[in-house]
Each structure stands twice: as structure tokens, then as C-alpha cells.
Symmetry: C3
Subunit: 199 residues, 3 copies
């Protein structure tokens, strides 16, 4: 854990935190959380044992990342985004015997962004460089390079890796950065790149 | 306050906290809050003076429970759930004289669950074992054993005490746990139990 | 900074905090934030360098106020309200060279209130004494004295400075406090006051 910044009022209990990562005031990273390099974990964030963060992940204030959640490289979670890992939440504090809690995983893929205060119901995969609008409630998978918004979240169009909107045609070019995208049976990819990223 | 766990970075100022309750990092339970036994009050939660929690209540990260809110036994509040106690919020910091703040109570009944990032507008009662979907905005009462979702939240069906969906017929049986429910003028109850619970 | 209350578990790094302001547990006010007098900054709130708060502002628990956000006098932000300052959020932690982050400002005008868990997409102005319903997602400007709600937020009627609903006619009188409002080309104002407030 060389070159990790931990604010004097943060709690960083994990032994797996990559170089260049910063953890800010009143944030809490539990033992057993796996954190990549160059992440930015902001004030009042929480990362539970078993959560997995790649490199360059940004978690803004007030976000909790649970066991069962995987955030690939360069994912962005806006302030107060809510994740979950239980489809049937009940408080079982008074019962004897084994809990019927069943962990349901969530994956947010390379470069995807989740807007402020959005809610991600567990069990979904959010594709690479997808963008979830502020305040949306995601209840099903989001394809790569797709913008979703609303409650429940629905597809609203195509977004470039740089974040700009594009026309949703079979071949699409970003008016801002010039990247060209092609669509095949597995979805969108950048023209000239060999398939989807391995992460 | 025997057998209460208070994380070294939590603030537990109440003198009424039941046995077996746990209060986690950066949580703040104010003096005058009433907390039952075996509760789980997670990181960055807040419980105000005057709030009442029964036994076995789970409050996930980032939830604030205000004066005027009653959470009965085994209630579950997911991460970043927002409660309120004022129908007409205005900042009155600059005015002289008495505030026109009027406390509006909220009750969440035995065993009910509120999904992540849902919002509960004050003045409502959420019936026993009801379930509020993630990201919903509750603006009116929710009957017992009823699932609600959306903005504003609307009834979506019937849920068992165990959390599973059931057909919404006059007599309904849970396909998972086998409990049978009957509907009468006062709503749903488990067949063979004598009326609704006293809490 | 006479007469400023800072809770022993808060971090108040700004040198510009007005008299009578209170900052509560686990809140963090950064150096370079500008805070007026008689503000109330509640538990787990965050105020970033560059944010500007007038006098008598109330920020409830779990709210983060970013650089680029201006809150005029007596603004109220309910618990877990989410603000933003970036229309195209991407995590750029792994890239070399200059970020393409572009700050987009937000202004919330004198006396306006934002309900619990609402989301304010950056770039908007919320007019004076407007009211945003709990859980709403604001994506465009809100006129003065207007109630908005829903996802995305839409106008639902007229509210008085005292917070009560009024009929949406060319001249409207509050049934509670008796203030009379008139509408002209620039919107609503209180009859007899000379134009809009300077803040």
C-alpha cells in the first residue's frame, strides 16, 4: 500500500488498496474490500468486505459499495448513488437459525458512469461506457454505450466513450471526439478495436 | 445498556438502547432517541431525539430517522432511504419569533421493508410486512403485505412475510414458505393468526 | 468566525463562515467554501471549496454542495438531496494530460426549498421560494413560487412564500397567510413589493 492517501478522518482497513488511491474524510473501506490503483473514494463513502473495485474508479460522497458488487476500471458513481445486494430485503435480527439472505451480484463495466442519486437494483450488469441518468432506478441490464434514465430506467440513446450523445444508427460517429462505433449481434463497439475489452 | 456494540467512530448519546444492538462507524444516535434490542444501525446513519425504533430494526448506511418517526419491530430501511417530518419545509433561520414548523409523524409497521434510496413523505403509515421498491417515492399509506414501487409509489402486488410475491386473490398462498393469507375488511392477515399484531 | 458552532466531530476548514452558523457531527466544510450567517449544516453534510451559501441556509443530513453551486439566503435542502456540477460524468483517473471536466453552475434562489432525496441536475436555476417535491429529479429551470414534482420534475402548481398551495390564477391570494401574488412577464411576485429581491 505505497502511495495511498488516507484522510486522517477516514477508516481504511483493507490491506488491498492500489497505488495512488485516495480515501477522503469519514469514508470507510472495510477489511476484505479489494481496491485498485488511482481510485478516488470521497467523503462519507463506504466499501464493504467483498466489494471489488478496479483501477481509476471514482466513488463520490455518500455511496456504499456492498459485497457482491464489482466496479471495473474507470467506473464513476455520482453522489448518493445506491447499490444493493439483496432482492428481498427483510430484517432478520430477531430470528434464530440461519438467515435466508441470498447474495445477488451486480457488475458495472469498464468506464460506465452512474449519475447522482441513481439506484441500481442488484443482479444487473451495466455495460461498458454506459451512462445512467441522475435519479434513475435501474432494474435490468444496460447495454454498452447506452444512456438510460427514468423510473424504471429506459434506454434514451447512445453515448460515446467521451460521454457525448450520438445518433443511434448502425454506424455512428461522435461529433465531439470523432470515434466511430459499429453495432453487431453483441452490441456496440469502437470501430477498429478487436472486440470488447477484457477486464 | 448491557451488550450494546458502539463502534469507536460512532456517537451513541441515547440512554435507551436495547441489548444486542450494534451501532457502526460514523453513525450518530442522539440523546432522547429510543432504540430497541438487537437493532443494526449501519455506517453514516443518524437517529434524532424523539425517534422510536422497536426491536430487530435494520437501518442501512446513510439513513436519517427523525423525531416523529416510529419504526416497529424488524423494520428494514435500505441504504440512503430518506424520511421526513415536515410537509412544508422552509428554512426559517433568519426569522424572529416562533417557527411555524409542524411535526408530521410517520409509522412503519412490524416487519415492513423499504428498498434502497426510497423516499417516504411524512404522514403515512406503511403496513406490516409491506415492501417499498428501491427508489420509490411513497406519498400515501401502504397496506400490509403490499408491494409498492414507482414515483409516486403505486401498489404492484402482494408479498408474503418471507418476502416472496404472491397472487393477489381473496385467499393467497406463498409458493415459497407455504403461509396462507386471507383478506377481510381490515386488509390481509395470515390465516389462523388472531388478527393483526400488537406492537 | 465569532459565534460559530462546530461539533467536536465536524470538520470546518473554511475561513469564511458567518456568525451563528452551526455545523454538526461528521459534516465537512472545506477550505474555500463560503458560508453565510445563521446557517444550519447538519450531520454528514459536505460543502466543497468554491460552493457559496448565503445567510440562513439549512442543509439537512447527507447533502453535498459542490463547487459551482450557489444557495441564496434561506434556501432549504432536505436530507440526501443530490446536487451535481458535471453534465458528462466520467472517471478520468487513468488518463494523462488535462481533464475535460467542465464545471456547470447551479443556482437555488432566495427561500426556495428542495424536498428529501430530490436530485438537481446541474445548469438549472430554481426560482425564489419555489418548492421541489421529495424524490423529484430537476432537469430544467423552476420558476419562482412554483411547486415541481416527479421524474423528470414538472410544475404542479403555485406555492406561497409561507409554503402553502395557491390557485394558479393571474392574481392569487394565499388562504393561510393572506399574501397576494401577481403575475407579469417575468413571473410571479408579491403584490406591493418592488420587483424581485436582490440577493
Amino acid at each position: 500500500m505505497d502511495n495511498v492517501f488516507v484522510h486522517p478522518h477516514a477508516l481504511a482497513e483493507s490491506e488491498t488498496i492500489g497505488s495512488g488511491t485516495r480515501i477522503w474524510a469519514f469514508a470507510h473501506v472495510m477489511k476484505g474490500a479489494q481496491i485498485g490503483a488511482k481510485c478516488n473514494i470521497c467523503d462519507h463513502a463506504f466499501v464493504e468486505s467483498g466489494a471489488v473495485l478496479g483501477n481509476g474508479v471514482t466513488i463520490k460522497n455518500g455511496v456504499s459499495v456492498w459485497n457482491g458488487v464489482t466496479l471495473e476500471d474507470e467506473v464513476f458513481l455520482g453522489p448518493n448513488v445506491a447499490l444493493t445486494n439483496d432482492m428481498i430485503p427483510r430484517s432478520h435480527q430477531l430470528e434464530e437459525g440461519p438467515s435466508n439472505f441470498e447474495l445477488v451480484p451486480t457488475r458495472i463495466c469498464h468506464g460506465a458512469s452512474v449519475g447522482a442519486n441513481a439506484t441500481i437494483v442488484c443482479g444487473v450488469t451495466i455495460g461498458e461506457y454506459a451512462m445512467v441518468g441522475a435519479g434513475a432506478v435501474v432494474t435490468r441490464d444496460v447495454p454498452a454505450y447506452t444512456l438510460v434514465a427514468g423510473v424504471p430506467a429506459r434506454p434514451m440513446g447512445l453515448v460515446c466513450r467521451c460521454g457525448c450523445r450520438m445518433a443511434d444508427a448502425d454506424i455512428s460517429e461522435c461529433g465531439t471526439c470523432g470515434r466511430r462505433y459499429v453495432r453487431d449481434d453483441s452490441g456496440w463497439s469502437v470501430q477498429g478495436e478487436t472486440g470488447h475489452r477484457d477486464v
